[in-house]
Symmetry: C2
Subunit: 209 residues, 2 copies
């Protein structure tokens, strides 16, 4: 009933990207509406949890009909601010960084990589339409209003994080294998194969006890 997005539980917030991804896929398949029960089968989350999660964003479904997929996607964009215009910077233009610049196909999804930075002078060339600047020039080249950085460089990690925070970065997607600390108010998401594998191994072993 509330019209803003205050007080959305953390657990719910973490499920939104899952819904959004599934919805985009369903739309691509030509579907126009979906029931919470059907969506449940796709994302393996109980339908009642889905309905509750969505209810935080407004009264979106219709009884006896379900949800309009387009409407849901729109609401995610409007209310949660994924308005395609997020400016993202990339730190590190190595193998992984290149892969990310390459599938810069999150155009129309969250935003796009505005520019990249690297310490290696050999890597300072435009790649897949993304300019690569020297790491030294971070403070002057960083786009106005940029909040999100993707960190793939693995030297001087902690120092780099501190510089990013000083530049006003509010969220860091961290691909490094280091453990790093962030100042208050900065959010970090690990995107780490090793940790992911560990979690899988832990959970797989648990299941066999």
């Amino acid at each position: 009933m509330s019209n803003n997005t205050r007080n959305v539980p953390k657990a719910t917030l973490q499920r939104y990207p899952v819904y959004l991804k599934a919805l985009r896929q369903l739309k691509k398949q030509g579907l126009e509406r979906i029931l919470s029960d059907e969506l449940s089968k796709h994302v393996q989350i109980k339908s009642t949890t889905i309905r509750r999660d969505l209810s935080f964003l407004g009264t979106l479904g219709k009884q006896g009909y379900g949800y309009s997929i387009d409407k849901l996607i729109d609401v995610f964009n409007e209310k949660l601010g994924t308005e395609f215009d997020e400016k993202i910077i990339l730190i590190g233009a190595g193998n992984l960084g290149s892969a990310l610049m390459h599938y810069n196909r999150w155009n129309y999804v969250v935003g796009e990589i505005s520019c990249a930075f690297d310490v290696d002078p050999n890597k300072l060339q435009m790649k897949y339409d993304v300019p690569v600047y020297p790491m030294d020039e971070l403070e002057e080249r960083i786009p106005k209003g940029c909040r999100i950085a993707i960190l793939t460089a693995s030297s001087n990690v902690q120092k780099t994080v501190d510089r990013l925070a000083a530049c006003g970065i509010k969220g860091i997607v961290d691909f490094t294998h280091e453990h790093i600390q962030v100042p208050e108010g900065v959010n970090i998401k690990q995107v780490d194969v090793v940790s992911a594998i560990q979690e899988l191994v832990f959970e797989t072993n648990e299941m066999n006890v």
Copy 2:
């Protein structure tokens, strides 16, 4: 007090990799012991939560002294089965796959990539000491006892997942942007920049309401 790892809460299981990573870093810095309060500052998790989490693995700390870092790391390895010998396969030898084969430095951490598979005949060459086989040969080439697969290929994703499950894969680290469904008993971990960015954007916006 329990000597096995039964009934470890899911939330706890997800924090273990965080602890492990921080502990390895502290060890590298030459530290030998740590208090739950100190560790708390590093990982931003309340010390009381840390103590409870660790207590599921046995009685590891000493009152008035803290925890031995070496001992903790050993316990994670022993009790949770990260015994360095996990055989991992990689599906897709493109940019991202190459990056993963390159920092195959999870030797001594979880295991190693035994081999990779790709549909593209041009990519079927040994890369960073990892052999790359044709996708067709998955069923015959997959190592015995292999439980974990890393999925970076982005064509025929769902079909590939089904084949992996049929081969006995129990955990999939998923780098694709697709939404995929897994059969009962198979665990999946998304390692997705886009979803990570979305979560960051969602949470960053939340904080400013």
